[in-house]
């Protein structure tokens, strides 16, 4: 029988029975991937479960999956620890203000660098890209902050790091590839100025990339601790001082001054438990937001960055 007829008689791809080799391959693939996923999920689950357990159970290491002796004692304690709320408030402020600043600066720069006929575009792009390869180092940056009188102010947490070159390149590539050239040309023909184009046409079409860089910058600010550590000595300006609580075990000293003896004993038994509660409180906001932005990641946005 002719080749074409035989080929036409082949069942549809989806209905083809898998060969033995393929079956083995798939079972291995699925097993490994699911194992890895569980490996990621398990510690996170244990952390959350531990935060909802009793201090005793946690200190004795009895929480291995689900909460043991369920209680929300830890969260109550954290709620009462008012110093933490200053830190939380600061973190939110730095994140919102900082991200706004970041996104504005990044989009402006990316827009400018995406204009194909801009004179000097190559040099300007190099100007930005070079800063990703080389920088002054810790001391010169510290001295700069000192000379600008940024030390111990909110500005040191907001202004530096305005443009992450990585994010800017992602944005620029998006502007270049996802906004059709015909649109730009039509706008020029209609007498639309560059800035009007930016605000009226480009931005509304760029929601995806704006969402992505907003997320990236927000996470960066939310998780920042280094800048605060070296530039801020005023505790009232500190963001959520997780480092002190989780790594240096300093929180119990703070609370000791305001509590009775038996409360102190109880708290010391709860130190592990409280840490878990802090971890959850510090991380949950981000984990709630990010899945919504996730759909923009995989395809267009990221692959564009590499080519750029």
């Amino acid at each position: 029988m002719p080749e074409a007829v035989i080929r036409a008689m082949r069942p549809l791809k989806n209905k083809v029975k898998l060969s033995a080799a393929d079956k083995i391959y798939y079972s291995i693939v699925y097993t490994i991937v699911l194992l890895l996923t569980l490996l990621v999920l398990y510690p996170l689950i244990v952390v959350v479960s531990s935060s909802f357990s009793s201090g005793q159970a946690v200190t004795n290491g009895r929480v291995i999956f689900l909460p043991v002796e369920f209680s929300i004692e830890s969260y109550k304690r954290v709620y009462e620890y008012t110093v933490i709320w200053t830190g939380y408030r600061n973190t939110i402020f730095y994140t919102v203000a900082g991200t706004l600043w970041n996104v504005c600066m990044t989009t402006c720069a990316a827009f400018a660098l995406s204009r194909p006929k801009l004179p000097g575009r190559g040099w300007l792009t190099f100007l930005f890209a070079f800063t990703a390869l080389f920088n002054g180092g810790l001391i010169p940056n510290f001295l700069l902050m000192r000379d600008l009188n940024f030390l111990n102010t909110i500005w040191v947490m907001i202004i530096p790091g305005a443009i992450s070159v990585y994010n800017m390149i992602i944005t620029r590539t998006f502007f270049q590839n996802s906004i059709p050239a015909e649109l730009s040309e039509a706008a020029v023909v209609d007498g639309c100025s560059d800035s009007r184009f930016f605000f009226a046409i480009l931005l509304p079409l760029s929601k995806a990339v704006l969402a992505v860089i907003t997320l990236f910058y927000s996470v960066g600010h939310w998780n920042a601790y280094f800048a605060a550590m070296i530039y801020l000595t005023n505790r009232g300006l500190w963001p959520l001082f997780l480092r002190e609580i989780l790594i240096m075990n300093q929180f119990s000293a703070e609370m000791l001054t305001t509590l009775s003896d038996e409360e102190i004993l109880k708290l010391q038994g709860m130190s592990d438990l409280l840490k878990y509660a802090f971890i959850v409180i510090a991380t949950v906001p981000i984990l709630c937001i990010y899945p919504f932005i996730q759909k923009y990641f995989a395809k267009g946005v990221m692959i564009g960055s590499l080519k750029g």
């Binding site: 393929d22 991937v33 290491g61 920088n135 395809k299 590499l306």
Partner: protein, 319 residues
Amino acid sequence: MKDPSLMTARLAGGRREKLWLRIRRHWQVYLFLLLPVVYLLIFAYYPMTGIQLAFKTFDYKKGIWGSPWVGFEQFTKFFNSHMFSRVVTNTLKISAYEIFAGFPIPIIFALLLNSFRHNKLKRVVQTVTYMPHFISVVVIVGMLFQIMNSRSGLYGTFSRLLTGTYPRDVLGSATAFVHLYVWSGIWQGFGWGSIIYLAALSSVNPELYEAAEIDGASRFQRVFHIDIPCLLPTAIIMLILRAGSVMTIGFEKVYLMQNALNLSASEVISTYVYKVGLTAMIPDYPYATAIGLFNSVINLVLIITVNELAKRYGNTSLW
């Protein structure tokens, strides 16, 4: 200086437009660039002038610009100090370990995930594995300390279940430090790191798969012969980027994981610079700047070298 009137540019259709006119026409775009460039000059390029401190000794009264030059004195001081071999070795050890152990895993994960036939499950897996990337490094280390606690953590609990006794403390162990550091980093980053490879894989021409299938290739063979070559350019570029920072072990995580007990393995260049330059009794700015500069220059040289090598042998490069 070129004569501006001789600098012309061709427009579509063959008309020539003078450079100056082109600049004038795009004035609004330059306005957009104004603030970013000013920012860049102040916060990125001006600190680079602070590098001169590496070649001076600091005189408080004269400031950075007035302090006297001492040439390479700070550098020789560093190379001759006993800390030099210690911090450089630690840095390189951790970096190499990170690359060997951590570089392949996102790639393999992307290849595996790409073979998934159930899209919903794939999305769930992606959501879960991307999560740790967004967790702050402080929380990661905090979680690490809690979990690896020999008494109250999972490490202690499971060891006791398996062997009957509590294990020895690992968090203060210099030998365990590298392993803890690297693998917690892999745990955090392999999902996120696979995104770029997944994106590259999604651009593979499906006709290639069909052709291979018709030729009788099993699923595994298809992955091996199509997917992997497709990923190679991306992987090389990522490797170049990674190689360029081989001497930079990020300060943040190491500093958090350091303690007096594991310092012999955990003191890296960045933490040493921090201690010498900022937290010492008498901060030694020039010395710290010199070490930092040494670090940056090595990184720059490395990334250029690896890029050239990739260009010559791999046909892909960063620039």
